[in-house]
């Protein structure tokens, strides 16, 4: 029972971070048909914003909220500066542009800030463990699960109830027809990028709260995992990102529990193998309702 509880928390912990990131990717993919590889760098931008704001003695909660908003605004700026001038070009052009943005940001972080890790002071509240009988669960993991669940519920509420959310979903479903209904394309695309930035910011908060540092390539590993989660789940539907994220989380947690220590290094290989299996047998992912997004 104890082992299962610990396993469950690990699944929820990893899965929710991957799901949040994958959702950010899917929200943009649904509209523009490309995977924004610079999505992980929004996590890094969040990290540095948090680092500097904490350096100015700002309370952690306020700094975290402002840094999340900052990540959202950076995503809008990314769209406005780099992607909007290329609107209407092929998804491959946009994908390569996103690689370029990611590369440029890495260099900027290294030159303007530091190539080395910068420590981030995590509040006492998130340090240490909580015990349930024989089970030790880190507070940061519980924080991750709670924040992720709340974020996902809020996102669901926004997408299903608000006019902007419906406009976004309609545009992702059929961009041209949504425009004929007066739904402003520029506004909807900017909103999608803002949401993806916010999701990357929240994921970065959870990621950093368990690691306590920020460095130029911080977003790379979680971004690649999110990419795999999004592809496994299906890029056409936000639900797919959730399924993919939690499936990946479950696989990683299982491998961590099952594999002997000397074989844990093969965990990422197993994840990539899962991706290959999906690409061969179910290339449109678990949910494949609209594999050809409208642009």
């Amino acid at each position: 029972m104890e082992a299962f509880l610990q396993f469950l928390v690990s699944v929820l912990n990893l899965g929710s971070i991957y799901a949040l990131l994958a959702l950010g990717l899917v929200v943009v993919f649904g509209l523009l048909g490309f995977l924004n590889f610079a999505h992980g760098d929004l996590m890094t931008l969040f990290g540095y914003a948090l680092f500097f704001m904490l350096g100015w003695d700002m309370p952690f909660v306020l700094a975290a909220v402002l840094a999340i908003v900052f990540a959202g605004l950076c995503a809008i700026a990314m769209e406005r500066i780099a992607f909007r001038p290329l609107r209407g070009r092929s998804p491959m052009t946009l994908l390569i542009t996103s690689f370029a943005i990611s590369g440029a940001l890495h260099v900027l972080f290294q030159v303007l800030i530091s190539p080395r890790s910068k420590p981030i002071q995590i509040p006492e509240l998130l340090s240490g463990y909580i015990t349930f009988g024989e089970v030790y669960i880190s507070r940061a993991q519980i924080f991750t699960v709670v924040i992720a669940v709340v974020s996902l519920l809020l996102l669901n509420l926004f997408l299903s109830r608000s006019r902007l959310g419906i406009a976004l979903r309609a545009s992702a479903d059929d961009f041209d027809i949504a425009r004929t209904m007066g739904i402003q394309s520029n506004r909807v695309i900017a909103l999608a990028f803002f949401l993806s930035g916010i999701l990357a910011g929240v994921a970065a908060l959870l990621w950093i709260s368990q690691r306590g540092a920020v460095f130029p390539a911080l977003g790379l590993t979680p971004m690649i995992k999110a990419l795999i989660a999004a592809i496994i789940g299906g890029l056409s539907n936000p639900k797919g990102a959730l399924y993919g994220g939690f499936l990946l989380g479950a696989l990683e947690a299982t491998l961590l529990n099952v594999l002997p220590n000397e074989y844990v290094v093969f965990r990422d290989a197993a994840v990539l193998l899962l991706l290959v299996v999906f690409l061969v047998f179910r290339p449109n992912g678990i949910i494949a309702s609209n594999p050809e997004p409208m642009r």
Binding site: R163, R169, D173, I177, T180, M181, G182, I183, N237, S289
Partner: protein, 235 residues
């Protein structure tokens, strides 16, 4: 109401619409008939701003649409029910209607949604069902209801009977006829010549990007050439 002058639409070197002119008066139901590839849908897409016109002029209520974005045309009262229905599959019926009323205020949108669900009782029964799970006929009703959300000054219908069972086709044409009687201005593009001429006030016949014939629907339905070509009737 809607006036099209010398409209040309090219796709690269291919001319899809070759300088056609027509108009739709307020309260009229005008139909454009013709075979596949005649340029009917290209004409409608140009009116909606979804494809660029190569030359010509389109006016709605005396105002040129040349510089008006796709999104603003909806604000001017132009509503579109596209070929193949293209309802938002992953959205519920209610959310499709809400998307259709995006240019309205929240209260007006709710008011119009109630009117639509009153007018389309089948949709009311399926209000919370995803549009992608509806039957073809229900999707067509939803596509029309969605377009009617803004209480349009001009409703544009592209092949509303396409791919539907004969019984459902009759229901769709009855609905369009009811809309016409209630005073909605309609531009209807159809391949079902017999049924569209039966409810239209006037009609234009398109072939290979040109208008080759026009007149009142009653004249055309009795025209020998139309009967031979499109209705399969030999006198």
């Amino acid at each position: 109401m809607l006036k099209v002058n010398n409209l040309e639409v090219n796709y690269g070197p291919v001319a899809a619409v070759k300088g056609i002119s027509f108009e739709v008066q307020k309260g009229e139901l005008v139909t454009i008939i013709g075979a596949n590839g005649a340029g009917k849908s290209s004409t409608l897409n140009a009116i909606m701003g979804l494809v660029a016109m190569t030359a010509g002029e389109i006016e709605l209520s005396g105002q040129s649409l040349a510089e008006i974005s796709v999104e603003k045309r909806a604000c001017m009262g132009l509503a579109f029910s596209p070929e193949g229905r293209r309802v938002f599959n992953s959205l519920s019926v209610i959310d499709n209607l809400r998307a259709g009323g995006m240019t309205l205020s929240s209260s007006k949108s709710i008011e119009r949604m109630d009117v639509m669900l009153e007018q389309f009782p089948d949709l009311r029964e399926r209000a919370h069902q995803d549009a992608g799970t509806l039957s073809g006929g229900e999707q067509q009703m939803l596509a029309i209801a969605r377009a009617l959300m803004i209480d349009p000054s001009c409703l544009i219908l592209d092949e509303p009977s396409l791919g539907l069972a004969p019984k459902i086709v009759s229901q769709v044409f009855k609905l369009i006829d009811d809309l016409r009687r209630s005073g909605v201005t309609i531009l209807l593009v159809e391949q079902n010549v017999k049924k569209s001429l039966a409810i239209a006030d006037r009609a234009y016949v398109m072939e290979l990007g040109c208008i080759v014939q026009s007149g009142s629907a009653q004249e055309l339905i009795h025209d020998k050439e139309i009967r031979d070509r499109y209705l399969g009737v030999v006198d």
